[in-house]
């Protein structure tokens, strides 16, 4: 790698000669600079595009030359593309299904971690195997089943957010239970026993003693499933038909596929707003998430 000594910051305090510094850590900063530009550039671009008043794709290329919040205002003023409704739906569906997933997963993890019963091993292995067939592959079946459920119970069939949440809860066990199961095992069993001697029943132990102790993993699982559901395009696009009921992933995709370059800055404003919550959550909880990632989940 060729080295331009002038552009690198001089390591004054270390007292190392520049050559040595360059060989040891300087080039690392060069790599870092390149990768930082690569990582952040599309984000800067979309942010700049969102500030461009009335911008199309072509005007978005002049970064930060015109700035106004017009696109953000216009975003909420389009009856054909009810962005506010999409945003609310995404939050509602994401929060409900992640809360449900955490509850279902924690109940199962408690059973697997604290109780010994026949079929326990088989159950754990089955959970692993079922995940090999992702819900995505069953999208046709999901749609058809929800279609026929909808004929009899419209409240949970196709075009119902409740139905979508139920489908998401179908995947609540699986990875979640594994992550939680491992964490539950780290809580000493003597705590349960002490509580039992004091006269607490299993339900009270679970809700008032175990759940608070495992709250870090509950937060991670909640976040991971919130991100997974808010990022889901397939099942949501298949099940939610009315524009008012759709989520951001479905709505923004249709928005951009219909009027690709005309309303680019409005789309960009929508994207920036949609990204704020997940990115903020991610950055705030990154320490825990990275732990969860290495335990086997993928974006």
């Amino acid at each position: 790698m060729s080295i331009d000594t002038d552009s690198a910051p001089r390591p004054l305090r270390t007292g190392r000669p520049i050559r040595v510094w360059m060989r040891q850590t300087g080039w690392r900063h060069l790599v870092g600079a390149v990768i930082v530009v690569f990582s952040i550039f599309p984000l800067v671009y979309v942010f700049s595009a969102s500030l461009n008043p009335g911008g199309t794709l072509i005007t978005a290329n002049s970064l930060f030359r015109n700035m106004s919040l017009d696109s953000y205002v216009e975003l909420f003023d389009r009856p054909q593309q009810p962005y506010a409704a999409w945003f609310g739906n995404t939050l509602f569906i994401g929060l409900t299904s992640s809360a449900g997933s955490v509850l279902l997963g924690a109940l199962a993890a408690y059973a697997f971690s604290r109780m010994r019963f026949t079929g326990r091993r088989v159950g754990l292995i089955t959970l692993l195997l079922v995940q090999m067939f992702p819900q995505l592959l069953a999208m046709v079946a999901i749609f058809l089943l929800m279609l026929s459920i909808g004929e009899i119970f419209p409240a949970i069939g196709v075009n119902s957010q409740m139905g979508l949440i139920l489908v998401y809860l179908g995947g609540a066990l699986g990875v979640n239970t594994y992550l939680m199961y491992g964490f539950f095992n780290t809580i000493p069993q003597s705590i349960d026993e002490a509580a039992r001697i004091d006269g607490a029943g299993h339900a009270r132990i679970f809700f008032t003693i175990i759940l608070p102790l495992v709250s870090p993993i509950l937060a991670v699982v909640a976040l991971l499933s919130f991100i997974a559901t808010t990022n889901d395009f397939v099942v949501a696009s298949v099940l939610l038909i009315d524009p008012d009921k759709q989520t951001l992933a479905v709505g923004l995709y249709q928005f951009i596929s219909q009027e690709t370059s005309q309303n680019w800055s409005i789309f960009a404003a929508g994207a920036v707003l949609a990204a704020i919550i997940p990115v903020a959550l991610f950055l705030a909880l990154q320490k825990y998430i990275i732990g969860g990632l290495t335990a086997g989940s993928v974006k």
């Binding site: 979309v46 089943l145 066990l173 095992n185 299993h202 395009f233």
Partner: protein
């Protein structure tokens, strides 16, 4: 899954216990049960009873509705499930079942049943034109080809409603009153109040007034009420919600011979077992109905040249895409992990923070943003970086593939960077130092010592990343839509389509939806991913044994 109460006397169960709790004796268990009974607070009990009561109420309601709509099998299943749930929660013991049931119930219905149902659909011709059963198809064909019977009598009409469903109440020229709906052929009613030749009140129904009729005009003009059980007898329809006329279909259904005859041309369409009525010339009447077609969908996928060719190239690209996605992101992630895994380097924290931004940014948005940036005419990449060159990033078959890999690299390298950093830090530095003492150069030491160790610990993650990218619909569908489209193919398929986007497009995009074929593709994907994963896991096991 069996869920009996703990059986601690059995030695395997006791041996399995990680914390070595001694198996409790009978008195111990009795004491536990007493303590438990005493400790269940009345509040919890009330909540439990309320929840179970609500669940059972829903189950009873659902069962009633299901039985009423001719679904005795599903209705029975609901009843059995309701009883099972109550039994599990009201009996003593069986504690694991109480905790596992909620999650397992959802898993059974929305995942395992869905898989089985996919398998079922793959063996049918379910799709556009084959949505329903044969009776519905007969009904629909006759409905679509109706003509008003010349010189038919005029029926004076009122529109009535019950439970949101509309009915026609008609007075025939003889003065008798009949009522019927789309589902229910005309039948005579007694007790209707007739005023000036028009019905104004029918027992059990609300007769719509003028304003309501105007409001539901669309529905009313769509409504066709069968004249009798015999579909050939025709239907009553109205244009103005005042008077109804008899319409009959151009097609006459012969239930005995199971044929449709076009009364204009005289062509006879027969059921040849293909799920539709077809003429001797092979012309089919649509809609048809759903039938089992056995392995037809799989055979079509394997033999029909306009499907087989694209399917093969899509499969090859899917493997290439999944493999290259993992390889490129892993190489870049590992490289960065090594670069930044040096304690002498300052500000590593900030680099890391910025590098994980692409990973934190919602995936579907990234794909859409990149699609804009790579736009051939107006995109940032061509317009600014390449100074106005019109490089067809997303519309040329080869470049579109490169673009997808590039965007996926952007999306995926932070994940690999994070897991590689974690794995690197778990390997003790002494190993490398020892190798360097023995005269190995730094890169040699890395390749021979750290890399194999890393691969062993990261192999499961790499496999699941492979499986994930194998089904990475969002990226491909949102970036290129699978295009550029292959115009020679018999299905809607393009150069960058992977198998899962193919399934999505065959089932849900465009006017012709073929759920059966799509499900067959899904089964094929499942078998492919499953096989690859099993082989890969075996391989990594052997890797582990080597070390």
């Amino acid at each position: 899954m069996t869920t009996t109460s703990p059986a601690p006397e059995k030695s395997p169960a006791a041996a399995e216990h990680p914390r070595g709790r001694r198996p409790p004796g009978r008195r111990h268990r009795q004491a536990e049960r007493l303590a438990e009974a005493a400790s269940v607070g009345w509040k919890l009990l009330v909540v439990k009873i309320l929840i179970l009561g609500a669940l059972n109420a829903v189950a009873v309601y659902a069962a009633l509705v299901l039985f009423a709509s001719d679904q005795p099998l599903v209705g029975g299943a609901v009843v059995v499930a309701g009883i099972l749930i109550s039994w599990i929660y009201f009996r003593r013991g069986g504690l694991p079942a109480k905790y596992l049931l909620p999650g397992v119930a959802f898993l059974l219905i929305f995942q395992i049943f869905m898989v089985l149902y996919s398998g079922y659909v793959a063996f049918t011709n379910y799709g556009t034109g084959h949505n329903s059963d044969k009776d519905d198809a007969v009904h629909a064909i006759m409905l679509q080809n109706q003509e008003r019977v010349p010189d038919s009598p005029t029926y004076s009409l009122a529109v009535a409603e019950r439970f949101g469903e509309l009915s026609f109440v008609v007075t025939d020229p003889a003065g008798d009153v009949f009522i019927g709906s789309a589902e229910q052929p005309l039948e005579q009613v007694d007790g209707a109040v007739v005023d000036a030749g028009r019905v104004v009140d029918v027992p059990g129904h609300d007769v719509l007034d003028f304003a309501e009729v105007l409001q539901r005009q669309g529905e009313i003009t769509q409504l066709a009420v069968p004249f009798s059980e015999d579909p050939n007898a025709g239907m009553l329809r109205t244009q103005d919600a005042q008077s109804a006329y008899l319409y009959t279909s151009r097609y006459v259904y012969d239930a005995e011979a199971d044929t449709m005859t076009n009364s204009d041309t005289g062509t006879v369409y027969a059921d040849a077992g293909e799920g539709a009525f077809s003429s001797p010339q092979g012309e089919e009447l649509m809609p048809g109905w759903r039938i089992h077609v056995g392995l037809d969908n799989f055979v079509r996928a394997a033999t029909e040249p306009t499907i087989r060719g694209p399917l093969l190239s899509v499969t090859i690209w899917t493997f290439a895409f999944a493999f290259l996605s993992v390889a490129t992101t892993f190489v870049l992630g590992l490289f960065l992990a090594i670069v930044f895994n040096d304690a002498r380097m300052r500000s590593r924290k900030y680099y890391r923070l910025i590098m994980i931004l692409p990973y934190a940014f919602p995936g579907f948005l990234s794909a859409l943003v990149w699609a804009g940036m790579l736009n051939q005419e107006f995109g940032f990449v061509n317009n600014v970086i390449f100074g106005g060159a019109q490089i067809p990033w997303l519309t040329d078959a080869l470049l579109a593939k490169v673009s997808i890999l590039l965007v996926n690299l952007w999306l995926g390298f932070p994940y690999m960077f994070l897991v590689c950093t974690g794995a690197l830090q778990a390997i003790p530095d002494e190993l490398t130092e020892a190798a360097q003492m023995d005269g190995a150069r730094p890169f040699q030491a890395f390749r021979m010592i750290k890399l194999p160790l890393l691969l062993v610990s990261l192999a499961p993650l790499l496999i699941s990343a492979f499986a994930f990218n194998f089904n990475n619909l969002t990226l491909v569908y949102m970036l290129t839509g699978g295009g550029p489209r292959d115009l020679d193919a018999g299905i809607n398929v393009g150069a960058t389509d992977i198998l899962i986007t193919l399934v999505y497009k065959v089932a849900f995009v465009g006017a012709d939806r073929d759920y059966g074929l799509a499900s067959a593709f899904a089964i094929i994907i499942f078998l492919l991913v499953g096989t690859v994963s099993v082989i890969a896991f075996r391989q990594t096991k052997s890797l582990e044994e080597l070390n």
